[in-house]
Symmetry: C2
Subunit: 327 residues, 2 copies
């Protein structure tokens, strides 16, 4: 393992220092915590997200005006603890309550639920939206049901805009659930991530193998395959995702997300092929995004997210101005 | 080699399609060319940059209002041809002339010079700024003098802002040369890039080796070392860069640039260590940026750019709003 780090046990704290020292005009760290909070405080419902580290820029990169109010960082691939999440809730609360946006992993759900209970005891209204956009598999290593992956970033963006315009806590929760139902993602891995404290890759793919449906912590996917072209991968992922909608969408947003070690060159080639397949299916694309948004440390691969745009106001929200490090 | 591509000879064109189809609100492709142009045409000096592909998001990702007017894409690690560059010059020209921002590689200089001559024959005033920020080595595989690397992106940004505010061609050229003299970069590689048409890494580093000073096309650096901590690498690169200024800067901007396969986690840890070293040297940092801006396909490693801020208007230019894919 070659990584630009110091002590593997210190990586999250050192990364956090790097983030807040580099972007002090956007966010700051709550002292002696692993919570980052946006500088600009408006009278709105607070939005809190977070989870294990290793998915950068998620989630700290999406803290800022128009997106998240605060993010909580756990150890690598490990949920943050309830006390840390509670700190984030208190920081994010400006009197209108707090919405938690949580990826569907058993550890995260438990800890965010517990923090919600703790904050409610202190009279902060808290609601939760669970993102489970990964339609590759049901029930996984750390999950009951479907996993939450790159589509979460779109949820941050749409809810972030809605919160800024003054939507109430209950309406935000309802909007979040409506959006989540329309967002579907699957990834394909060419190589596994190496957790620094472990020191070796989480799984091994041979020089001519890829795996469809791998999770962002290296959870098993649904099929090992011999290496394919970008066109074939695009065909496979689009087809598989489309089977998950009860009715074929007529208009979608597309997010091609790099897993950490995938050059932008490949991400754009893959996007080009995805758009060709969607055009063949007569599906209109009205929102596009390509880049590293929800990574798996140094995994090589991409994920494809389709977002069934059934309400055009969601596009307005996706395209609105934000002040974050990474959107 | 596992890459998400189709035919290796088609990667630049397919990537280009992916880029322009994904961000049609920002830029478009000049028909039957490898030139991308920003949509918004203002009466200003046009800024054109480009070079070999494989450094994404450079340079297409920096085309847009407030940065580049147009970018020309060559084959991977290969200069674009003069006729393609001339197309970009003609597109960028809005009557006030065109400034070329060229990284210092012999092939690029030759071809951009020739395109300049061709455009001048058609009465378009053209000037050139050569960026040679890589202070790792003098004279390299493809270069006489010093190479041009990640600091080029800062030149795009500052000149892009200045051009938008109406600076003349000759004043832009003078400003560009003034800035370039203050920008210095060195990289460190943990692994080499694989050019898709070649199919294997450009050089090999063993599991415990790194190389200081490697270029963005895999040109040899100045020292092979056993693997080091991020702190040690930060110390090495900062010290080496500081020796290149005749007087130690009191205020700098810092760009930590990922080479393509380096997780953001590592880039932020490295930035944290760079900031510690600079603080020990009593150097104030007034601009920070961390991410993949000038990559070398799938190379693992980072480059460090220091920018001696001798004029505070440069900071205003760096922080001004832009509408690009990747700044």
């Amino acid at each position: 393992m070659k990584k630009i780090i110091n002590d593997p046990s210190m990586i999250v704290d050192e990364m956090l220092h790097g983030i807040v020292k580099s972007y002090p005009e956007i966010l700051h760290q709550v002292e002696e915590s692993r919570v980052v909070v946006k500088n600009k405080r408006n009278k709105q419902v607070g939005l809190v997200s977070g989870g294990g580290s290793g998915h950068e820029p998620a989630h700290a990169g999406f803290v800022g005006d128009g997106m998240l109010s605060a993010a909580v960082l756990g150890d690598v691939f490990t949920s943050p603890t309830p006390d840390q999440i509670e700190i984030a809730i208190k920081e994010a609360n400006q009197g209108a309550g707090v919405l938690l946006i949580v990826k569907n992993y058993t550890g995260d759900i438990l800890n965010f639920e517990m923090a919600k209970d703790m904050a409610e005891l202190e009279n902060i209204p808290v609601e939760m939206v669970i993102v489970d956009d990964d339609v590759a598999v049901e029930n996984s290593t750390y999950t009951a049901g479907k996993r939450g992956v790159a589509g979460t970033v779109l949820v941050h963006k749409i809810l972030g805009d809605a919160a800024r315009t003054g939507l109430s806590l209950m309406n935000l929760k309802a909007l979040g659930e409506k959006i989540v139902a329309e967002i579907k993602t699957i990834g394909v891995a060419l190589s596994a991530a190496t957790v620094p404290e472990v020191g070796k890759p989480g799984f091994v793919l041979s020089e001519d193998e890829i795996e469809f449906g791998v999770g962002i912590h290296g959870e098993p996917g649904y099929r090992l395959e011999k290496m394919q072209t970008s066109k074939e991968m695009a065909q496979e992922l689009v087809s598989k995702i489309l089977t998950q909608y009860s009715q074929k969408p007529s208009e979608v947003g597309v997010l091609v997300n790099g897993m950490g070690a995938t050059p932008l060159m490949e991400q754009f080639i893959f996007m080009n092929d995805v758009l060709t397949v969607l055009a063949q299916q007569s599906i209109t694309v009205t929102f596009h995004k390509v880049g590293n948004y929800m990574t798996s440390i140094d995994m090589a691969g991409v994920s494809l997210t389709l977002f069934n745009v059934t309400d055009s106001s969601w596009l307005t929200a996706l395209n609105s101005e934000v002040n974050t490090i990474s959107w």
